[in-house]
């Protein structure tokens, strides 16, 4: 195989997985940089951005002082990049592609070429998104939600956002079909559904969410494109007044339709962000507690129920649109019901720790931190799921705090856990434990430094959309000093990632060499060589038992790989 076929246009799931992961990590750091710029503006509004302010140009930051329009661009693109180009590619594209076929004993994905196309669609979508910053009027600036009619009349960057999203959605749809078919068709002999590792279940359900939830947004994206380019009015109402003048459009459209179509995707999308993370955490907890997962079957049922329910809760994002108390009652009821499987999942993971002799290695530390952080994120979501408190909290920093606890110290910690855990499989070398812990502890502290004060600001009523952090609003006076604490925490968080970056590259070259199964794990990926060759396994895989046979009484070792029969 030539260089291009092997490393660039590869059809090997492991290379594609690594391509996804590296792309996802790069976009995560890109989205993080956008956020750090925003945090400067929030902490020091009206003051020139140090070091790079003068490079941003007069249309973005004249004299280095950030314009609110540019702040809006950063906000919209931070959300878009983090969700669609950072977390999803890393969690689903990266870990899913690399780990899932190995964990089910497959030689590759069901459709390797489709897999390659899926990655390159993501790549093109990402390039379009980043390139949109250089368009006249800048990148999209109507929030990551692109609410109509604001987005319909926004500058050209919004058109690029829509084109980019169409590529990203196409990528996810192709990928999800591949995962579903692979999981159903390519499981090793003896690997029944209830012998699948929980990570595979999580990816399997996630793929259904992507497959069923994304098409409405793709359709909505095309409709918004037509509103912007073809003069239609799908989301533009009659008599819409823009800047004091009636907009000359045919009208008759519904801005609320966009919100329904968007949230029909975006709420399942939340579970797309969280389920693979739970899958990763479950694997690492089982491995490092040296016990089977507590309640594996109830976890599987919960994740399936969660997948179904995630399609009937979307309008809890829309309580204040005036859609009526009957609809609000329905959606708040489904939302409350959905907390049950979520609590089952988290409880199972917590109970799995009970009585265990825990190995506190770096992946386990990140996995353990995930549990309370996700817990805080989940519990703070309950008031938002009830329409009465949501009226007060909607669009405040409370909401930002809530979902960032889910996806930042929640999902992203789980993704770090996964990187530390599967790094030896991908490279044959282990990452440094010292640098790993140097990465973990400051990250944990700074993450909370960034997001915990957001709850306080939210309760004080500070809107999430203010480009100046609320300094011009007298009611926010008591809580605006928290902005500086949050910003310094964010910059501290950036510094805390340096040990990870150093560790990542250093360990690739000079990490301690390890064997095929350095964690003494039971699942099938550890039965392949590290790194696995093209085709993955050097022996036939026949599975004889469940995924977490740790500390089985009467066995010589405290782990029994899925393909090894128990000793009599």
């Amino acid at each position: 195989m030539g260089f291009w076929r092997k490393y660039v246009f590869s059809i090997d799931h492991k290379v594609i997985g690594i391509q996804y992961a590296v792309t996802g990590l790069l976009f995560l750091s890109c989205g993080f940089c956008l956020m750090m710029l925003m945090r400067w503006q929030l902490a020091y509004p009206g003051q020139p951005i140090p070091f790079i302010g003068s490079w941003l140009g007069d249309t973005r930051a004249p004299g280095g002082i950030m314009l609110p329009d540019f702040y809006n661009q950063l906000g919209a693109m931070h959300g878009t990049i983090m969700v669609f180009l950072g977390v999803v590619p890393l969690a689903v594209g990266g870990f899913g592609n690399f780990v899932l076929p190995l964990q089910i004993g497959a030689v590759d994905m069901a459709f390797p070429k489709l897999n390659m196309i899926s990655y390159w669609c993501l790549f093109v979508g990402g390039v379009i998104m980043l390139g949109s910053f250089f368009l006249p009027g800048g990148a999209a600036q109507s929030g990551w939600t692109s609410y109509a009619p604001l987005a319909d009349i926004a500058p050209t960057g919004q058109t690029a956002w829509l084109f980019g999203m169409i590529f990203l959605i196409t990528s996810s749809l192709l990928g999800s079909m591949n995962f579903i078919v692979t999981t159903i068709q390519l499981r090793a002999k003896g690997l029944t559904f209830f012998r699948l590792p929980f990570f595979v279940w999580a990816q399997f359900v996630t793929s259904f969410l992507l497959l069923l939830a994304f098409p409405p947004l793709e359709a909505a994206g095309v409709l918004q494109l037509m509103d912007r380019l073809a003069g239609t009015s799908f989301f533009l109402p009659t008599g819409l007044v823009v800047s004091g003048e009636i907009l000359q459009v045919s009208g008759g459209g519904s801005p609320l339709l966009w919100q329904h179509l968007f949230w029909f995707l975006a709420h399942p999308e939340v579970y797309v962000l969280i389920l693979p993370a739970m899958g990763i955490v479950a694997e690492i907890i089982a491995n490092n507690t040296r016990k089977p997962l507590w309640g594996y079957r109830s976890m599987v049922y919960s994740v399936i129920v969660l997948g179904f329910l995630s399609f009937v809760v979307w309008a809890h994002h829309m309580f204040i649109t005036g859609m009526g108390t009957v609809m609000s009652s329905f959606f708040q009821t489904t939302t409350m019901i959905m907390s049950i499987p979520s609590v089952i999942l988290l409880s199972c993971l917590f109970i799995s720790l009970y009585g265990a002799s825990i190995r506190f290695n770096t992946p386990m530390l990140f996995a353990l931190a995930f549990l309370p952080m996700f817990g805080i994120g989940g519990l703070t979501g309950l008031p938002l799921g009830l329409s009465a408190p949501d009226i007060a909290l909607h669009d405040t920093y409370y909401v930002i705090g809530h979902f960032h606890y889910i996806v930042a110290p929640g999902t992203i910690f789980a993704l770090f856990a996964g990187i530390y855990y599967w790094f030896p499989k991908a490279t044959g070398r282990r990452m440094s434990e010292f640098l790993g812990k140097l990465h973990f502890w400051p990250s944990l502290i700074f993450m909370n430094g960034v997001f915990m004060p957001m709850f306080i600001q939210g309760f004080a009523g500070v809107s999430r959309r203010l480009a100046d952090g609320g300094v011009t609003y007298s009611f926010a006076g008591n809580v605006t000093p928290l902005n500086r604490m949050m910003s310094w925490s964010a910059w501290g968080l950036a510094l805390a990632q340096l040990p990870f970056i150093i560790n990542f590259f250093m360990s690739m070259r000079s990490g301690v060499k390890v064997g095929n199964n350095p964690w003494h794990a039971t699942t099938l990926e550890w039965q392949a060589p590290s790194p696995p060759p093209h085709g993955n396994f050097t022996q036939d895989i026949v599975v004889s038992h469940g995924p977490y046979e740790y500390s089985v009484p009467g066995q010589k070792e405290d782990f029994l790989p899925q393909n090894q029969p128990a000793e009599a």
Binding site: P45, G46, Q47, D58, I65, L67, D69, S243, G244, A467
Partner: protein, 247 residues
């Protein structure tokens, strides 16, 4: 010898330069049109009601006296300010030099100053933020490319240009809905805006017959035809009356 010749040479250079410059600039004319614009009618109640700026305490604090709207600015004797006066037709069809100094629009006291502006195509248009408050300058042209530039308190200056002639479009602040100004982008320099005394003078006109038009934001336009025979000053006065209500 050299020393005595040098001043002579310098003088001849200067003279030559002046001759060439005069030839390039074309002939200068002294014809002009002067006049006064007045308003004959009652002042509508909406123009006597002070603006409410208390939505932004930063704006309200900048004024101790009530601030009246600028839609009908009257001087002594019902003279009318903020009237845009221009030569509508009759000018030779040629390209006029564009001034390099910018036309300035200031945001001061949460008002635009001046309220009506004329500038030439591609003439620099500088916007100041003397208030030190968050404003956004939203231009609403139909022919030119519009802009919507937010100016936080710390951003004191922004500069734009308009590339096509366009008569009268609004500039507004979306933060402070009472703020509005009007801009005319002209292809020639024969225009001006009256002060409260309602007086105007448009000079430098060659002999010819011109249509002169006056525009006021509420009272719309009036025009007159004026013929200039030589280096003379012609007069054209205008009186606006309140618009007739449709029955």
């Amino acid at each position: 010898m050299r020393n005595s010749l040098f001043p002579l040479k310098k003088t001849s250079h200067l003279a030559a330069t002046l001759i060439v410059a005069a030839a390039l600039a074309g002939p200068t004319f002294a014809g002009s049109i002067t006049g006064t614009v007045k308003y004959d009618g009652p002042v509508p109640a909406s123009m006597k009601r002070p603006l409410r700026m208390d939505a932004d305490p930063g704006c309200a604090m900048k004024h101790t006296d009530p601030v009246l709207p600028e839609g009908l600015v009257l001087g002594e004797g019902q003279t009318l300010g903020n009237v845009f006066v221009q030569i509508k037709s009759g000018l030779p069809d040629k390209e006029y030099p564009v001034p390099t100094e910018p036309v300035v629009l200031d945001q001061n006291g949460c008002k635009y100053s001046p309220h009506v502006i004329g500038l030439m195509v591609n003439q620099p248009f500088k916007i100041l933020n003397s208030d030190g408050l968050l404003h956004n300058v939203h231009s609403l042209p139909k022919i030119n490319t519009g802009f919507n530039r937010a100016m936080p308190g710390a951003v004191k200056e922004a500069e734009f240009k308009f590339s096509k002639p366009e008569f009268m479009f609004k500039v507004k602040c979306d933060v402070h809905p009472w703020m509005g100004a009007y801009i005319a982008v002209m292809s020639h320099p024969y225009f001006m805006v009256t002060g409260p005394d309602g007086k105007f003078t448009i000079d430098g006109l060659a002999p010819g017959t011109y249509e002169i038009e006056v525009w006021q934001e509420k009272l719309k336009t009036k025009s007159a035809t004026v013929t200039i025979a030589g280096d003379e000053a012609q007069t054209a006065d205008f009186t606006f009356t309140p618009p007739q209500r449709k029955k």
